[in-house]
Assembly symmetry: C2
Homo-oligomer: 429 residues x 2
């Protein structure tokens, strides 16, 4: 763990190290992934079936085997405990309510001369959601990808998830039933991304692909970008915490560890002007670590990619955090909203002592698919807009084109585009 | 030109051909482009200067030579004709007004138990705009890229444009002054994209890169996607026209040619249920062609990539156009707004007989940077949102977390993420 004061001599170097976190070496796997994509483009289902034999340790007998039945989803749903069912429904409802507020509206404006200008927002026709499978199959990921697509009004929603040993994760199946999705395929990795981008005999070609995944999935998403749209290229998870002395060190320690337990590559970073809090959190992390089932992963993550930075004041803490642009940012201070205007970049901002990041992972409502590795400087959380697109609307009356057509023709002429110019001039008089 | 009825035997094959338009063979140049990007990452300005010698036929003497002076922009502006100056100001003002209406707002909602949920929208810190240079340097492209970035509130706007023979396009310089941009570099092609994505001693690293370009520029943009955000991967320009007998054949012919004159790879497609109109437009194209200075380009484009399709009725025409998902769509019918609800995919929709596509290229207000090659199925026009990003806002009170914390902890536990569970539980009571 980096445990450092901003005034230390070696601070700049250590901070640079921190900023370099979370970069994936996509170039390293792009050869393999390129081959997989070509394979699927050429041999479609045949290639899918052979990739499944190779990576997932079972062999589909026929094309129909690729699809999970709706009956098995319903059965899985019926089998889950009532309390969990209620919790998942609560999550579904809250996530849906938040995303409905987020949905953009078409708009237009008129001008007195008869002009209408506007923007029409429409859903994409089909979306492909990638959901990791096996042990790391999270029903929450399914909800967070399906609901924005449903709220957007996407007609065809397709899901791909790997099923090692042909054993689908029952919770994931239950969540599929709960969300009302019907097209779920037992296909994973780069093959799944290629199948949804180009289509096979069984899996339809989609317009947008979203969802988390490992470096092979991320690389495949980047490679098919342009053929389809994608949400973002995501790396390991992160949390940044800005805190003052009003924060509870025990709470912050477990918040940091809730990222660390995800992945050895995850980063957990506390920045505070309080040396006292910094010391206390460090101690509390040690205590918590001994109690966690995922202790091994969390310890490695904290040791190699964790950081506690003590700054001169809160202004400096905010500045440093803006440079980090963390995926999750907790603001654990006395008056967190006072800092909000100064926070420039973060995927999601959790304000106040009662808002642990985990509440946003499951039930708060906003999406938990967020930009990582500093990309919050330019990417947004996954949302309804990832499943919609816009068309500009332009309508001119005879009066309107007479009013500004001459200027339009002049610019077109200056650019040497005579047909452009003439297409306006023929309508003037 | 494809001139066909939807009832013809060979229609399906011809339509497939049309749908395959505008695909760029990015794989073909990705080796060269990858090398250029590596070069710039490693040698920065030194590599830039050597690429300029190689591709633009002049040799910068030093790093300062890479930058265009603001004095030369001001001089270029002062030298342009009063009428053109006014026309450009009109365009600037109208484009700005439209994009201001498009700017998304931050929002939040409160719940009675003390919860606050919302979405904060903030500009990226820096944007890099690529503007093609030399003969194809269009001041309108500059306006269409700069204005949305300015409206978004981007602090640092950087422009790269190639200057063959070290002779910047004077109109482009004038437009730079008019827009108030100050950082313009004489760098083009894949080198420019790499310089803005990774930064050099002179050119700052940016967060978002937008702007049109050839296949090398498009490929470089795809390759740096993830390191920065990009707008879209754009190919040759296109126009689709839906028309009925109320349309003026002469007008539609010059509208089709206004795309064809851009580029031999451009496509111009008329779909109409009227055989009479189809025949007349075909004849008018021939007449117009003889009058155009860019006749050679326009003729090649129309012959190789133009199409006139006669359908059974307007419903079928709309269906086919939705499959094409054109960059520009003119609806030249008696009651164009009646068709609007059925139009699913198009970059910009031009409604009515007085709205030639060219009016949208320059002065109408909406952006002329639009998705091509069928990507209007999932991409949107360039706009203010390309230069902004969102952060989710989540704030829970003690009451709020007590209300739904148990459900949250249960889901976390089910997913095997104990630290997540505990980070919520420690706050409950």
């Amino acid at each position: 763990m980096i445990f450092v004061k901003s005034t230390d001599n070696d601070f700049d170097g250590k901070f640079e190290e921190l900023l370099a976190r979370g970069k994936m070496d996509i170039a390293h796997v792009s050869g393999i992934v390129g081959d997989i994509i070509e394979d699927i483009k050429t041999d479609k289902n045949l290639a899918l079936r052979s990739h499944i034999s190779k990576f997932d340790n079972w062999t589909p007998k026929n094309d129909a085997d690729l699809k999970i039945t709706t009956a098995s989803m319903q059965k899985a749903y019926e089998n889950i405990d009532k309390k969990l069912k209620d919790a998942l429904h609560l999550a579904y409802d809250r996530i849906k309510a938040y995303h409905e507020k987020q949905k953009p509206k078409s708009w237009f404006d008129t001008e007195a001369n008869g002009t209408i200008l506007g923007q029409q927002v429409t859903p994409v026709e089909s979306a492909g959601l990638y959901i990791p499978g096996g042990k790391a199959a999270y029903p929450s990921s399914l909800l967070m990808n399906v609901i924005p697509a449903q709220v957007a009004g996407v007609e065809n929603i397709v899901i791909c998830t790997p099923t090692p040993d042909n054993e689908p994760n029952e919770l994931l199946l239950a969540a599929c039933h709960l969300c009302g999705v019907r097209e779920v395929y037992k296909v994973g990795g780069a093959s799944a991304i290629a199948a949804m981008a180009y289509g096979t005999e069984t899996i339809p070609k989609v317009d947008v692909i979203t969802g988390p995944g490992n470096i092979f999935v991320a690389t495949a998403k980047k490679m098919v970008f342009g053929e389809v749209n994608i949400d973002m290229i995501a790396g390991p998870s992160e949390i940044g915490i800005l805190a003052d002395e009003s924060a509870n060190a025990n709470h912050l320690a477990i918040d940091l560890l809730s990222q660390a337990e995800h992945d050895e590559m995850a980063s957990s970073i506390l920045i505070t002007p309080s040396q006292k809090l910094a010391d206390a959190v460090k101690d509390e992390i040690e205590i918590w670590l001994t109690k966690l089932p995922r202790q091994e992963i969390a310890r490695k993550s904290i040791e190699e990619r964790g950081a506690i930075i003590v700054t001169k004041d809160m202004d400096e803490a905010v500045d440093l955090m803006n440079k980090i642009a963390p995926e999750h940012l907790e603001v654990a201070t006395m008056s967190p909203f006072e800092l909000l205007p100064y926070i420039k970049h973060a995927g999601a901002i959790f304000l106040g002592h009662n808002t642990p990041e985990a509440i946003g992972d499951y039930v708060a409502g906003p999406n938990h698919t967020l930009p990582t590795g500093g990309t919050a400087k330019f990417y947004s959380p996954l949302g309804v807009e990832n499943f919609m697109k816009k068309s500009s609307i332009i309508s001119f009356s005879k009066n309107a084109i007479n009013e500004i057509g001459e200027e339009c023709a002049l610019i077109a002429n200056t650019e040497g585009l005579t047909a452009h110019e003439q297409s306006v001039r023929v309508r003037l008089k």
